[in-house]
Subunit: 142 residues, 4 copies
Amino acid sequence: MTHRTETRVIYGDTDRMGQAYYGNYFRWFEIGRSEFFRALGLTCREIEERGFFLPVAECGARYHAPARYDEVLIIETDLDETVRGGIRFRYRILRKESLELLAEGFTHHAFVDASGRVVRPPAFIRGLLAGIPAPSPTEPRP
Amino acid sequence: MTHRTETRVIYGDTDRMGQAYYGNYFRWFEIGRSEFFRALGLTCREIEERGFFLPVAECGARYHAPARYDEVLIIETDLDETVRGGIRFRYRILRKESLELLAEGFTHHAFVDASGRVVRPPAFIRGLLAGIPAPSPTEPRP
Amino acid sequence: MTHRTETRVIYGDTDRMGQAYYGNYFRWFEIGRSEFFRALGLTCREIEERGFFLPVAECGARYHAPARYDEVLIIETDLDETVRGGIRFRYRILRKESLELLAEGFTHHAFVDASGRVVRPPAFIRGLLAGIPAPSPTEPRP
Amino acid sequence: MTHRTETRVIYGDTDRMGQAYYGNYFRWFEIGRSEFFRALGLTCREIEERGFFLPVAECGARYHAPARYDEVLIIETDLDETVRGGIRFRYRILRKESLELLAEGFTHHAFVDASGRVVRPPAFIRGLLAGIPAPSPTEPRP
């Protein structure tokens, strides 16, 4: 399941090279995973209200071509894998007009409870994410 | 009492016009008032730990000349006046090399307690700020 | 003509008080005026491609209630007045769910040519903005 | 040669989790490499004035512990290796008070000329960086 959403590059995102500042892509990655969860029926805010936080433990990005002022970007978000004690997203940023790939990236998140202790992903999250491919066991395979 | 501190314009502060983005000056104003309090012997963090918050109720800026990449800026901060239920700072941003005035601004802050209710400035703040000019009443005047 | 667009508060917009940082509203004001121009059929990018820039000469904001994480905001933008050598926008930020007014603000822009010199608003801009109410003088009235 | 500089976490860097937003570390990495070059006697601004740009081709970060409001951070920057067609920096962010390691990261930069074409690092950069360890061949060794 690839989730897609859009954003537009504003003046405040650009730098004097005339393109989006490299650190600002991580804001777009946040928008991507936030809307990914919302599309599944659960917002990051609700996760926090249930006492769980998903701080970023690791992240990275590769830049292929600049995102320029006023361009509309497509943010593609995928759940990369559910790993022990965490969750990992992959992102692709595309220029909407040309569908050119501008950047790729990932974020790896720990699950933390309200006291700041790292915990296993809670059952309601595991259930939600496990349900993504969800092939019915009774469905006949070729 | 004018407090002075410095900062340097980074790439991430600039926009495609090649100068600092107008919204980023408010980060520099924050640095100014934060160091103003620290110079008085009380940090904004300590004020919060004592249960008081100073959200910005109003702010403004006038821009005279652009702050450019890699320039060192002087941030001047003054306590404008102590107003009922709040506090007001004035700022001046100067280019260090030429002492040219680049921007002026202000922030007006309410005092809020931990429950979010607007309160009078607490006594330890009033005492601190009242002490700034602090002419002794017993001191003979000409 | 009040223009309306929307944005959502992301984690990166918030601060440790749990609400949007005061300086980030100026990014939203930028989104407002950018979409205002687009709705008129002319983008800020096109204005720049024609050799004119609209740096902010002055701005300000008043904050009435906090914008919180994940809330959808309505950005209302109005052309306040066309002033000599510049243009002025007014903004209102509303919480979409409750239509509560969260903040108001303004930006005043100079017109600058490619050499950085302040100039009169070019004719194509004056025509565009004058056209907003645009009653033709030769048009018969009832 | 490890270069060290310092910065302080401001309100505008934090998010509602009460710690620095993950994307803001990339601003601190920029400060690190910028001061690294300055300590070598060449600023990034001068590199650009000589017609070369160093856009980020890839970057990443691992977060070990949160950077909190008002803490002073040490930014350590190392030249990781000089690679074909680029340059790579490694960073470590430490809490100054405790010297606890808060985050590690890297940036990989391409060299680009004014026309946007990827080029080999120019001689004046290669000379500068090659000079970092620079043991004299005539110096007697024990």
